[in-house]
Symmetry: C2
Subunit: 418 residues, 2 copies
C-alpha cells in the first residue's frame, strides 16, 4: 500500500514538474518531438511488434474476444497509421499562447486572455495501443503533461510505445516525464490518482460506462466524461424524403458501433404514411431490425414492438427504435426524455422547424439536414480528438487541442492604479 502511495505520488509530482516546463516549450519543439516519435515508431517496429505479441499471447487469459484481440494487435500497417497520426498532429496549429480576445479599458489597460495548457492530464483507457500514442501526442501538443493508464491487456505494447515516446522527449530537449505510463496493473492505483486534485488538473476516462461512473464518483478533480450516444433523427413533415432516407440510412448504418450512430428514428405523423414504408424497406434491405410503437407497426408490419427501455438504449448495432410523433414539440420532448444529449438531427425544409429544433434540443451537437455521424473532431475541423464530451462544463462535444487548454488574463499597463 505504501509502495503504491509512493509510486503514484512520484508519478504525479514528476508530471507536475514536467507540465511547468512544457508550458513554456515552443510549438516548434513540440512538433520536432512529434516527427521524432513518428520516426521511432517506424524504425523500431520490430521491437514494438514483439512486445505486442506478448500481449496477444496473454489475451485469451484475460478473456478477450477475437474482435478485441484484433483491435489489440499491432501490425506494420497499423504502425504506419500511428506514425501518420503523429505527423498530422504536428501539422495542427500550436494552441498555446494564442490571444483569445483582448479589450483596451478606458484607463489604457490592455486586457488579454491568453490560451495556456490545463496542466496535468490523467488519461484512463482500454485496450487499443494506438490510443497510447494519440493521447500522448494531443496532450503534448496542447502543452499538457499526461499520465497514461492503459488496459492491462495492452501493458507490454504500451510499455514499448511509451519507451519510444519518452526517448523522443529526451532527444528533443523536452521533459522526459511529460508522458508517463502507469506500469502497475493494480486497480487501486487509479483511486490514488483520482484523489490528487492538487497535482492533476483533469481526468479523462475513455471506456465502458462502469469505468466512467467509477471515475466520476471518485475523482476530486474535473473529469471530461464520454457517456452514451442515444442519438435521434427526426424527420419533419416538410422533409425531402429522398434526403431523409439517405440521412437515416447513413446515421444508422455507416458505422453502427460508434457513439454518434443513430439509435432512434422519430417521424412526424403527417408524413408517416408517405415516408415510413419507404425508409422501412430501405432499412430492412440494409439489415436493420426495427422496433416501433403501435403507429409505426401499423405501417411497418415487419417491425417488432418497442419497449420503453428500447427508446433509452444505445444499441451500437443494426437495430433502430422508431416512433411516430404528433409534432416537432413532441419530438423535442421525446429527445429530452429519452436521449443522452449527444447528437440529434432534424431533416426539414421548414426554417421555423429548424430554428425551433436547434434552439430547444439541448445536445452537444444538433444537426440540420446532415448525418449524426458528423459529430466528430475530424469532421468538425478540430483535427485530432481525445474523445467526445457529453458534459456541459468546459468542453462539450469533440475534444481536440483547444479543449485541453484554459486561459489566463494577462494585462499590460503603464502604471495604472485603482
Amino acid at each position: 500500500m505504501t509502495d503504491l502511495d509512493d509510486y503514484t505520488k512520484r508519478l504525479a509530482e514528476q508530471a507536475r514538474v514536467a507540465a511547468r516546463k512544457l508550458a513554456a516549450a515552443t510549438g516548434g519543439m513540440k512538433d520536432v518531438w512529434l516527427h521524432r516519435a513518428a520516426e521511432l515508431v517506424l524504425s523500431r517496429r520490430q521491437e514494438l511488434i514483439a512486445a505486442n505479441e506478448q500481449d496477444v499471447r496473454l489475451a485469451p487469459e484475460y478473456g478477450l474476444t477475437s474482435a478485441a484481440i484484433d483491435r489489440l494487435r499491432l501490425t506494420e500497417e497499423r504502425l504506419v497509421g500511428i506514425a501518420s497520426a503523429l505527423e498530422e498532429i504536428a501539422l495542427l496549429p500550436n494552441p498555446v499562447g494564442e490571444i483569445i480576445d483582448s479589450n483596451v479599458r478606458p484607463n489604457g489597460l490592455l486586457v488579454t486572455r491568453v490560451r495556456v495548457p490545463l496542466g496535468v492530464v490523467f488519461f484512463i483507457y482500454e485496450s487499443r495501443p494506438n490510443v497510447t500514442v494519440d493521447a500522448a501526442a494531443i496532450c503534448i501538443k496542447s502543452g499538457n503533461a499526461v499520465i497514461l493508464r492503459g488496459g492491462k491487456e495492452a501493458l507490454h505494447s504500451n510499455r514499448a510505445l511509451h519507451r519510444l515516446l519518452a526517448e523522443a522527449l529526451v532527444a528533443c530537449g523536452l521533459p522526459e516525464h511529460a508522458v508517463q505510463l502507469v506500469e502497475t496493473t493494480d486497480r487501486e492505483a487509479v483511486g490514488r490518482f483520482l484523489k490528487m486534485s492538487d497535482k492533476i488538473d483533469v481526468t479523462i476516462p475513455r471506456g465502458g460506462k462502469s469505468l466512467i461512473e467509477r471515475v466520476a464518483q471518485e475523482a476530486r478533480m474535473p473529469v471530461i466524461k464520454h457517456f452514451d450516444g442515444v442519438c435521434h433523427v427526426y424527420v419533419d413533415q416538410s422533409a425531402d424524403f429522398e434526403m431523409a432516407e439517405r440521412l437515416v440510412i447513413n446515421s444508422k448504418c455507416q458505422r453502427p458501433g460508434v457513439c454518434n450512430a443513430a439509435e432512434c428514428l422519430l417521424v412526424h405523423a403527417a408524413c408517416a404514411e408517405a415516408f415510413l414504408p419507404r425508409v422501412g424497406r430501405a432499412l430492412q434491405q440494409a439489415g436493420v431490425e426495427l422496433r416501433g410503437d403501435a403507429r409505426t407497426r401499423a405501417l411497418l408490419p415487419f417491425a417488432k414492438s418497442a419497449t420503453e427501455q428500447d427508446y433509452r438504449t444505445e444499441y451500437l448495432e443494426l437495430i433502430l427504435s422508431v416512433k411516430v410523433v404528433d409534432s416537432l414539440e413532441d419530438a423535442v420532448r421525446h429527445i429530452e426524455e429519452y436521449g443522452s444529449h449527444h447528437t440529434d438531427a432534424i431533416v426539414t425544409n421548414d426554417l421555423n422547424a429548424a430554428t425551433l429544433f436547434t434552439t430547444c434540443v439541448d445536445s452537444a451537437a444538433v444537426m440540420v439536414n446532415a448525418s449524426t455521424r458528423f459529430n466528430d473532431g475530424g469532421e468538425f475541423g478540430l483535427g485530432a480528438e481525445i474523445g467526445i464530451s457529453t458534459d456541459r462544463f468546459h468542453a462539450r462535444g469533440p475534444c481536440g487541442l483547444k479543449e485541453l487548454t484554459t486561459y489566463k488574463y494577462v494585462a499590460h499597463g503603464s502604471g495604472q492604479t485603482k
Copy 2:
C-alpha cells in the same frame, strides 16, 4: 429527513424545468424582468427594510460583529444601489445564442458553436443581502435558473428580496422557479443539493475557506471555487521606481480586505538597496506593517521578521511580506511555491522580463506595470461578476455572464452523409 429530501428534490426539479424554459427566452424578456425587479426594489423598499430589521435584530444572537451587522443592513441608499446594479446588468449584451465561431467544412457543412446557458446554478453565499439580487440577475441574464442559499443571518431579507424577484418573473412571463431561495436553514440541505448532479449543473460557493472546502469535497457536479488571493508584486531591477512605489502602495492599501490586494512584495537584489528604503518609508507612512527576510531587514530595520507561514498568508489587512530575490526566476519560483495562482504583478521596463514573467507565472491574472487590484470583472470589462475563479477548468479569473454559459455545436447541411 424525508421532508428535507422531498423539499430539496422539489426545488431542484422545479429549477430544471424553469431552466429549460429560460434557455429559450429572448434577451429582451430577460431585460424587461431586470427593469421590473429594479422598480420593485425601489417601490417596495419599506417592506424590504422591515424584513431586514428582523435580521438586524437577531444578528447579535448569531454572534455577528458590528462590521458584519453593518454589511447586513439594508438602507434606502443601498436599495438604490441594488436597483442600479439590476439596471446595469440589463445594459449588458445577451450572451445566449451568440455564434462563438464557425467553420465551413470541405463538404459544405456549416459547423457553428452556439453559446447556451449552463442550466441550473446552485449558489451558496453568506450574509450580504445585495448578493441575492446580484446573483439572481447574473444567472437569469445568462439564461440559467438559480437556487440561492444565503446565510441564515439574512434569511428574512433574502425572503423579502426573493419574493419580489419571483413576482417580477411571473409578471414578465418568465418561469417563476427560475429564481428559488432555500428557505430552510438546515445545513443538511446543502449536502442534499451537492449530490444532485443530474439536476444541478454547477455549484458556486462564495464565502469562507471552510465552506468552499466542504463544497469541493461533497459536490458531485462541477464547482467554481473562489479561494485565497496570496497576490505578489515583483519589482524588477529595470523598474521605474516611482511607478513601482505607486503600484505597490495601490496594490496593498487601496482596499486591503479583498482577494486581489497584494500580500507580498518581491524585490530584485540588484535594486533592493535603491528601492526598498523608499518603498518601505511610503508603506510605513500608509500604516503598513512589514515582515521581511534578513536581506530586507538589513535595509529596513523597522520591518519585523517574516516566518515561512507569513509568505503563505492572505493577511487581508495592512501587513505585507517582503523578500529580496536574486533573479526574476527566483521571483517566479517563490510565486509558484507560496502564491495561490490568483493575481501577480511585475513592475519592469525590460521587455524580456515582462515576457518571461507573463509566460511562467501561472495565475488567473498576471499584470505588467498595473495594480493587482484590477483583477475584477468590472475592471476587465466583463460587466457584472459572480466571483473570481481560482480554478483552471471552464472559468478562470472574474466570472461574468459568459462564464455561466457553455456551447453546443449546431451544424447546417444540405443532406451530407459520411
